[in-house]
Subunit: 404 residues, 2 copies
């Protein structure tokens, strides 16, 4: 792979030249200090800033097909009358089209990676490979999958090799504690660990899920998963809206990564994420968009603003009850940006999310002349609270501009 040089770009407020080699930031220097004569690609960074790119840690990419298809209704009706009947009719070609829209939308809004859980994964993998993005593609596990389906998945995993040489990983994705029984959850975790795969699961998304888990297993979802030996540093737990203080300590202790999805939790009325407990537990928090049918976009930048503002709007007391008005210092811009960038990368073993020599060359070039970035008292604040996709001049993944 040939070198790329970005010339005269603002990095942490300082004009810099940046050499990208073999998909990594090889050298960061003052302007005109890097020889670009032999570079295959020279980019002019004038009027632009470089910041880490975003990592979307929970989505169902192809569900863009259901964007705006069923809004403003209760979860049960949404699932049974709209989502499931729609999904029953999906073809491979539909999945491909849905993934194409999703990938384009994520690149436009600054994501270089997504953690997916859906069907027709060979289609999604193909789209990701062509796009230049990274992805973790979930092999979905449901209790009601037949033996034939299970064997098909096993064959797929056995025969699969990453067509991109490092940008795509397969993960095991048991859907949730209410759709996969205890034996299968255990087996799936063992299988994943034997094959060096991560685990991706919905956890404690709604109060109803917690109540049903208590009824069925005598434990809340996090305690229940821990009792099965499921939790570990290879687990990405999506949502975690209804998790108490002791459970946050369990998650943090096991090294679990949580994917917080504020728009989805708000839109389908799941509830407010317990920011206070999550932050004080020291657990690794990341951000996800969830699928477009409950968001209804895949814009992780927007997700940062929703998270930061929801954290501040109301506050949770120690007993979990809510009070109107909150703490404006909770979840500042720089912290929610770390959730969406560095934390997301680390959760998937990607040494990105920071612009520094040696890190993988995932980055965004931000147009400082865009009206929403002006004035620029604070770049990250502007990106989190003010920007939109139009402020992103380029999304760089693995040293190359995505989508080109």
């Amino acid at each position: 792979m040939k070198d790329t040089v970005i010339k005269n770009v603002l990095l942490n407020g300082t004009p810099s030249d940046i050499l990208i080699s073999e998909g990594r930031f090889a050298k960061i220097a003052a302007p005109a200090q890097i020889n670009s004569e032999n570079a295959a690609n020279v980019m002019d960074g004038t009027g632009k800033a470089i910041i880490p790119a975003l990592y979307n840690t929970h989505t169902h990419a192809a569900m863009t097909l259901m964007r705006g298809f069923a809004d403003d209704m209760a979860l049960e009706k949404w699932l049974t009358e709209y989502v499931w009947p729609f999904e029953d009719k999906l073809t491979d070609s539909d999945i491909r089209q849905g993934s194409e829209i999703a990938v384009k939308e994520m690149i436009n809004s600054g994501s270089v990676f997504f953690n997916d859980m859906y069907f027709g994964i060979d289609q999604t993998i193909d789209i990701v490979a062509k796009s230049g993005m990274r992805a973790a593609i979930g092999v979905t596990v449901m209790e009601n999958h037949s033996l034939a389906v299970e064997n098909e998945k096993l064959d797929f995993i056995k025969n699969w090799s990453d067509p991109t040489g490092g940008r795509i990983q397969l993960v095991m994705a048991p859907h949730a504690v209410y759709t996969v029984g205890p034996a299968k959850l255990r087996r799936t975790a063992e299988f994943a660990r034997n094959h060096g795969m991560r685990l991706h699961i919905h956890v404690a998304e709604t109060a109803v899920e917690v109540q049903n888990c208590l009824k069925e297993h005598g434990m809340t979802p996090v305690r229940y998963l821990d009792s099965l030996g499921f939790l570990g540093p290879d687990v990405i737990a999506a949502h975690c809206v209804y998790v108490d203080r002791e459970e946050w300590d369990i998650l943090a202790g096991r090294g679990v990564t949580v994917s917080h999805c504020p728009c989805s939790n708000m839109k389908i009325s799941s509830g407010r994420f317990p920011y206070e407990l999550a932050l004080s537990s020291g657990c690794r928090i990341t951000l996800g968009t969830d699928g477009a049918s409950s968001n209804n976009n895949l814009d992780l930048r927007e997700e940062m603003k929703f998270a930061a503002l929801l954290a501040k709007c109301v506050s949770a007391k120690n007993d979990g009850s809510l009070e109107n008005g909150g703490n404006p210092e909770l979840l500042p811009a720089v912290e929610v940006f770390r959730w969406a960038s560095r934390n997301g990368a680390l959760a998937f073993g990607i040494d990105g999310g920071e612009i520094a020599e040696g890190r993988v060359a995932d980055a965004l070039l931000i147009d400082l002349n865009n009206v929403r970035m002006r004035p620029c008292h604070n770049l990250i604040s502007n990106f989190v609270y003010s920007a939109d996709s139009d402020c992103i001049a380029a999304t760089i993944c693995d040293g190359r501009i995505c989508g080109e």
Copy 2:
């Protein structure tokens, strides 16, 4: 003014030709049914939909200058250590620059109107006049303004005439019940009514404001303003976060328009707007962005998504206390869109916010090929929940494309 014809644009799902004459929608017909030979301007609407434009009913435009200047801190510190010292140093040229950024940003994100409250209003008026937008420009009233300042404002109002022949109106803007005393509030309301001007005021933005009003005047802000004869159909009350059921009946009964500003209320931890009470009162609700220093952008489209999602995320019980999880049917996309469009227009006597023959020609052309608008099961849902500024192909105000 010469005619404009928009050809082959989707209106409520139907391909249509639209004739705009004298700043109004003069004729809406099937494609090729309108003769465009004599039109001064013909626009191709192919691949685009036409929807009402947005009306931002509470902002401080020039505060874009303080975008990202002071985030994630308590209101008191924000005001006394950052905002006020910054404002003390502002020149006319600064205000002009701040208003320019604001106007460009609002046009890009689909607003054709804003209701402003700030200083240096001659600068803002000039920028608005050149932009093609509409605005209501507040003459700010504070208790501590000297007689000289008061006389200057009176002179300004007396000598002012709208340079745009109808797009700009002056309104009286007493800042709030805690910065303007009762006598001046009464006098200002009388003055406004004698001069056919509307009134713009901050009301019940924070719990502290309500407590202090109770202490000082023995009444909550809405009751207090009503006791002064201040409330009427010419009043735009911004925020109204802490308003109880009886007060909502007072606001509705007096015909007051409320400007809800979800991002600002969330970001500076004012609290969650009482959607349940506001909706059941029948009061006219509109949307505002507030200033960029507490938002931090002026994107009313984004504001719609925040309002709809905050309404659904948690719910308020009858006693005003909050419960986690809410009602997903509360404030559907089409309703919050009406808040931001038709309701906002009506509040300022603008017969816009609907695409219909006879209405003023304020509208947005939406790019249906933008990836965030695809697929298009529901146009308004896509615009509220998924779009960003990039989906807006043109912002049309008074029959002309803004910013050109």
